[in-house]
C-alpha cells in the first residue's frame, strides 16, 4: 500500500505542480511575449493601467460567477443581466432624474429581484442551472430592450414615445468607470470576496454545497437557502458590472454588457486551479480575468482585428475547461 501511494505521489507531484500553477505560468508567458515583442507599446505604465481598467468589469462580473459556480451552479445569463442593470441605471438618471445614491442601489436591488426569478426556476422548478439561465438570457434580452423602447438610452435622447428627457448623468457616475476608481473598486471586491469565501461561515457553506449537495444537506446545511443566497450575492456583482459598463459608455447600449459573459466564465475556470484551490475562488478569478485581458490588449496592439478576438477568447475558454475537467478525471 505505501509503495503504490509514494509512486502515485511522485507522479502526482509533477502534474500537481503544473495544474496548480499553469494559469499563472500562462499569465507570465503571455505577458513576457508581448513585452518582448512590443516593449515600447505594451510595457508602459499607461498601458498597464489600460489593461487593469479593461479587466475591471470582466473581473467584477466574474466574481459574481465565482460565487455562483462555487455553490455548484452555473450562469449563462450574466451578460444579459448586466445589460439590464445598465439600462436601468441610465434610465433612472435620464428619465427619472434620480441621484446616484438612489439610482445605483435601486438598479442593483432590481437585478437581485430578477435573479430571484432565476433562482425560482432553478430551486423550485428544478430546472438545471444551464437551461434555466439560458431561458433567462433570452428573456432578459427582450425585457431590457422592451424597457428601453428598443434602443439605447443616453442623455438628452427622447424616449421611444417621443417624450423629451431632461435628466443628467452625474459627473461622479462617469468618474466611477474611470481609472483609478474602477480599478480600486475591482481590487476591493476581489479582496472582500476572497475573505468572505475563505474565512466566513457562509463561504464555507457555499463551498460545501457546491462540493456535494447531498452531503451538505445531510450535514444540516440548508442547501436551498444557500443556493438562493449565493445567487443574490452574485447578482450584486453582476449588476454592478453592468452599471460600470454604462458608466464607461455614459449610456445604455443594446446588449451593452453581453460581451462580458463568456470572458467572465473563462476567468472563473482559468482561476479554478490557481495555487491548488481546485474550486472557484476570487483570487484565481482575478488571475483568469488578467490573462484574458492581457491577451486581448496585446492582440489588439498586434493589429489582430477586434472581430477575430472572440475566436481567441473561445479557445482560451476551451483550454480552461479542458484543464479543469482533464485534471478532475481521476475523481470518484
Amino acid at each position: 500500500m505505501p509503495d503504490i501511494q509514494s509512486k502515485a505521489k511522485r507522479k502526482g507531484l509533477i502534474t500537481g505542480f503544473l495544474t496548480k500553477w499553469a494559469s499563472i505560468i500562462a499569465l507570465v508567458v503571455v505577458f513576457a511575449f508581448f513585452a518582448i515583442k512590443m516593449p515600447a507599446m505594451f510595457l508602459t505604465s499607461s498601458n498597464m493601467i489600460t489593461i487593469l481598467r479593461a479587466i475591471s468589469v470582466t473581473t467584477i462580473i466574474a466574481i459574481g460567477l465565482t460565487i455562483t459556480l462555487a455553490v455548484g451552479g452555473f450562469d449563462l445569463s450574466s451578460g444579459s443581466m448586466a445589460t439590464m442593470s445598465g439600462s436601468l441605471v441610465i434610465s433612472f438618471f435620464v428619465w427619472y432624474k434620480m441621484s446616484m445614491w438612489e439610482a445605483i442601489p435601486l438598479a442593483i436591488i432590481l437585478t437581485m429581484g430578477l435573479t430571484l426569478v432565476t433562482m425560482f426556476l432553478i430551486v423550485k422548478c428544478k430546472i438545471p442551472d444551464l437551461l434555466a439561465t439560458l431561458a433567462m438570457m433570452f428573456t432578459l434580452d427582450g425585457v431590457s430592450l422592451t424597457y428601453s423602447g428598443g434602443g439605447a438610452v443616453s442623455e438628452g435622447m427622447p424616449r421611444a414615445n417621443g417624450a423629451e428627457t431632461f435628466g443628467k448623468i452625474p459627473k461622479m457616475f462617469k468618474d466611477m468607470g474611470q481609472a483609478p476608481t474602477i480599478i480600486i473598486i475591482m481590487i476591493v471586491i476581489v479582496v472582500v470576496i476572497h475573505i468572505f469565501l475563505t474565512y466566513t461561515k457562509y463561504g464555507r457553506y457555499i463551498y460545501a454545497v457546491g462540493g456535494n449537495k447531498e452531503a451538505a444537506r445531510l450535514s444540516g446545511i440548508p442547501v436551498k437557502n444557500y443556493r438562493v443566497f449565493a445567487g443574490m450575492l452574485a447578482a450584486v456583482f453582476i449588476g454592478l458590472g453592468g452599471i460600470l459598463v454604462a458608466s464607461r459608455n455614459m449610456s445604455a447600449q443594446i446588449q451593452g454588457a453581453a460581451g462580458y459573459a463568456m470572458p467572465a466564465i473563462s476567468a472563473v475556470f482559468i482561476g479554478r486551479s490557481v495555487a491548488g484551490a481546485d474550486k472557484p475562488n476570487a483570487f484565481g478569478t482575478f488571475i483568469g480575468a488578467s490573462l484574458v485581458g492581457i491577451l486581448e490588449n496585446g492582440l489588439i496592439m498586434m493589429s489582430v482585428p477586434y472581430y477575430s478576438l472572440n475566436a481567441v477568447k473561445g479557445v482560451v475558454l476551451a483550454f480552461a475547461l479542458a484543464s479543469t475537467y482533464y485534471s478532475s478525471k481521476g475523481e470518484n
Binding site: 474565512y199 466566513t200 461561515k201 457562509y202 464555507r204 457553506y205 463551498y207 460545501a208 462540493g211 456535494n212 447531498e214 452531503a215 451538505a216 444537506r217 445531510l218 450535514s219 444540516g220 446545511i221 440548508p222 481546485d278 474550486k279 475523481e331 470518484n332
Partner: protein, 507 residues
C-alpha cells in the same frame, strides 16, 4: 411449444478478486422448465455467480456446460447467444425511456435485423411485440412510452424481451424487492407460465424466503462464495432450515461487550410512515446509553427510516419525541438543531465532502461552534478540534489538510462519524457504518460507538450484518418490508432468530 429439456451446468467455478475469493469451486446445475431459487446472506456470492452466467464476469475459472456441451461465457453477447438473460434489479439500466414498449421489446431486431433498411416497419414491430405480450398474458399497450410505465411493468417488458430473444435460462435478480403484493402475484403468474409453457429455466434470487415456497421447485443455498446445499422445495423444507443453512457457524465477532448504565428514555417514535411506503407504522424507543440495532436485509427500509428521522425523507405520519418533548423534524437542518446526527450509508456521496480537506469535513456539521460573532471561522479553534478528533478516532491521514478523497474507506468513515462528535448530539444514527471497511477500522468504529453510549448518548445502529448487530447492540428491532417485525433483546436472541424475522418469518 414443447421442446426437449435443456440443461445448464456450472462446474468448479471460481473467481478471485484482489484479496478475496468471491467464488470457490461452485457447482450449480439446472434444467429448462425448472424454477430454482438461489439464496444466501449479503456477500454470499449469489450475484457474482449470476454475473458469470450473464457474461458480466469474464475472469472466472471452471467449466460451463449447456446441454452437456462446454461453452465459454466471457461477455454478455455470448451469454445472450446461448439463451441466457439476466434481469437486473435496476430495470432502468436496460431500458430506453424515450422509446415505446414495442421498440424496447424488439430492440435487438431493430438494431441487428434492419439489413440495409433505413425505415422502421412500425406495424410489424408493434404486431410482433403485441404477440409476445399476449402470449405471456401481459396487459401493456405496446405504443406507450417506456418512461410512463411502472416498475413492475418495466420488469415485464424486460421479461418479454428475453422471451423474444428465445431465452432458455432467465435470471431474475431480486425481482420482488420493489414490488407491491399484487404486482408480486402477477410476476409469479408470469414466471410460472414461462417455466411451464415456454420451457424456460428460471433462476430466482430473493431475500424473502416465504415467497420462495410459493414459486420455486428447488433451491440452492450459498454462503461465503460456496454452494452449501441444494434442496428441493416440498412440504418438508422449512424457513428455519434454510436460515440455518445460510448462516452456518463460520463467523464469530469476538468483540468485547461493555456494560453501560442505561438511563432514561431519550428518543421515542410512534407510528412513523413515509410517503413512499418504505417505512410503515414504525414505533420505537431509545434510551440514553443504549445502543439499539435496526436489523433488516437490503431494501427492508432501514436507510429510509434513518433518513426519515433525520428530516431527509418525506414524512407522512407519525410523531417523534426527544427527552419527552414532542419535536418536529422537517429537514436535516432542524434535525441537527434537535441534536440528532446521521451517519449515512453512502459515505462518499452523502457522508463526507471528498474534495475538501479533513478539517473542513470535521467542522461541517457544527461550524457555528467555531465562528466568532461576525461569522468568521476561527481557524485555530477549528484546527485544534480537527487534530483532537483525528487523534481520538485514529484517522490515518498525513495531516488535517489532506483531502478526504485520498483517505481509505475506513478512514473516510471515521471522518463521517467524527464530524458529528463535535456537534455534541444526543441521538446518533449510523446506517451501515462498517460497509466496505476493513477489520481494524471496524473495531475502531465499534469502540467509538460504545464510547458514545458510555457518554449517555442514544445510538441507533442500522445494519444488515447480523453478527455486528449481535456484537454491539443492547436491543434490536428486526425490520422487514418497512415494518418492525420483532423487538428482541440482544443477549437473549440468536442469528437464526433475527434472520428468521428479517426474512419475513412470523411469530
Amino acid at each position: 411449444m414443447a421442446e426437449s429439456v435443456r440443461t445448464l451446468e456450472m462446474k468448479n467455478i471460481s473467481i478471485e478478486f484482489p484479496g478475496v475469493k468471491a467464488l470457490s469451486n461452485v457447482n450449480f446445475s439446472m434444467r429448462s422448465g425448472e424454477i430454482r431459487a438461489v439464496v444466501g446472506a449479503n456477500g454470499a456470492g449469489k450475484s457474482t455467480l449470476m454475473k458469470v452466467l450473464a457474461g458480466a464476469n469474464e475472469t472466472y475459472t471452471g467449466d460451463i456446460l449447456i446441454d452437456s456441451k462446454p461453452c465459454e461465457i466471457r461477455n454478455p453477447r455470448s451469454a445472450k447467444d446461448l439463451g441466457i438473460e439476466l434481469v437486473y434489479q435496476e430495470v432502468d439500466t436496460a431500458l430506453f425511456p424515450y422509446l415505446s414498449v414495442a421498440e424496447n421489446i424488439m430492440f435487438n431486431n431493430i438494431v441487428t435485423g434492419m439489413k440495409g433498411r433505413a425505415l422502421i416497419h412500425w406495424k410489424g414491430i408493434n404486431k410482433a411485440a403485441r404477440e409476445i405480450l399476449d402470449r405471456l398474458h401481459m396487459d401493456i399497450d405496446v405504443t406507450r412510452k417506456m418512461s410512463s410505465l411502472s416498475l413492475a411493468q418495466k420488469q415485464m417488458v424486460l421479461i418479454a424481451r428475453a422471451v423474444r430473444e428465445r431465452c432458455r435460462f432467465l435470471i431474475l435478480d431480486e425481482p420482488t424487492a420493489p414490488l407491491s403484493l399484487g404486482e408480486v402475484a402477477e410476476l409469479f403468474r408470469i414466471t410460472k407460465e414461462l417455466a411451464s409453457r415456454e420451457n424456460v429455466g428460471i433462476i430466482f434470487i430473493s431475500h424473502r424466503l416465504p415467497e420462495l415456497f410459493e414459486i420455486c421447485q428447488s433451491l440452492t443455498v450459498m454462503k461465503d462464495g460456496q454452494v452449501v446445499a441444494n434442496k428441493s422445495v416440498d412440504g418438508s423444507l422449512t424457513t428455519q432450515e434454510i436460515v440455518n443453512l445460510m448462516l452456518g457457524r463460520s463467523f464469530e465477532e469476538n468483540f468485547p461487550k461493555r456494560k453501560v448504565a442505561i438511563g432514561e428514555t431519550l428518543v421515542e417514535a410512534e407510528h412513523l410512515a413515509d410517503e413512499e411506503g418504505k417505512v410503515r407504522d414504525v414505533s420505537f424507543t431509545v434510551r440514553s446509553g443504549e445502543i439499539v440495532g435496526v436489523c433488516g436485509l437490503v431494501g427492508a427500509g432501514k436507510t429510509e427510516l434513518c433518513k426519515l428521522l433525520f428530516g431527509a425523507g418525506g414524512m407522512r405520519s407519525g410523531s417523534l419525541r426527544c427527552r419527552g418533548k414532542s419535536i418536529k423534524v422537517r429537514n436535516p437542518t432542524q434535525a441537527v438543531r434537535q441534536k440528532i446526527a446521521l451517519v449515512p450509508e453512502e459515505r462518499r456521496k452523502e457522508g463526507v465532502l471528498v474534495s475538501e480537506p479533513v478539517y473542513f469535513n470535521l467542522s461541517a456539521a457544527c461550524l457555528d461552534k467555531f465562528t466568532n460573532r461576525f461569522s468568521f471561522v476561527q481557524r485555530r479553534k477549528e484546527l485544534e478540534n480537527a487534530k483532537k478528533l483525528v487523534a481520538d478516532l485514529g484517522v490515518k491521514t498525513p495531516s488535517v489538510f489532506q483531502r478526504v478523497r485520498y483517505l481509505s474507506g475506513g478512514n473516510q468513515q471515521k471522518v463521517a462519524v467524527g464530524k458529528w462528535l463535535a456537534s455534541d448530539s444526543d441521538f446518533y444514527m449510523l446506517d451501515e457504518p462498517t460497509k466496505g471497511v476493513d477489520v481494524g477500522a471496524k473495531r475502531d468504529i465499534f469502540q467509538l460507538i460504545q464510547k458514545l453510549a458510555a457518554d449517555g448518548k442514544a445510538v441507533l445502529y442500522a445494519s444488515s450484518e447480523i453478527n455486528e448487530i449481535l456484537a454491539i447492540t443492547d436491543r434490536v428491532y428486526v425490520m422487514y418490508n418497512g415494518r418492525f417485525a420483532a423487538e428482541l433483546v440482544t443477549e437473549k436472541t440468536s442469528e437464526e432468530e433475527i434472520l428468521y424475522y428479517a426474512a419475513g418469518g412470523k411469530k
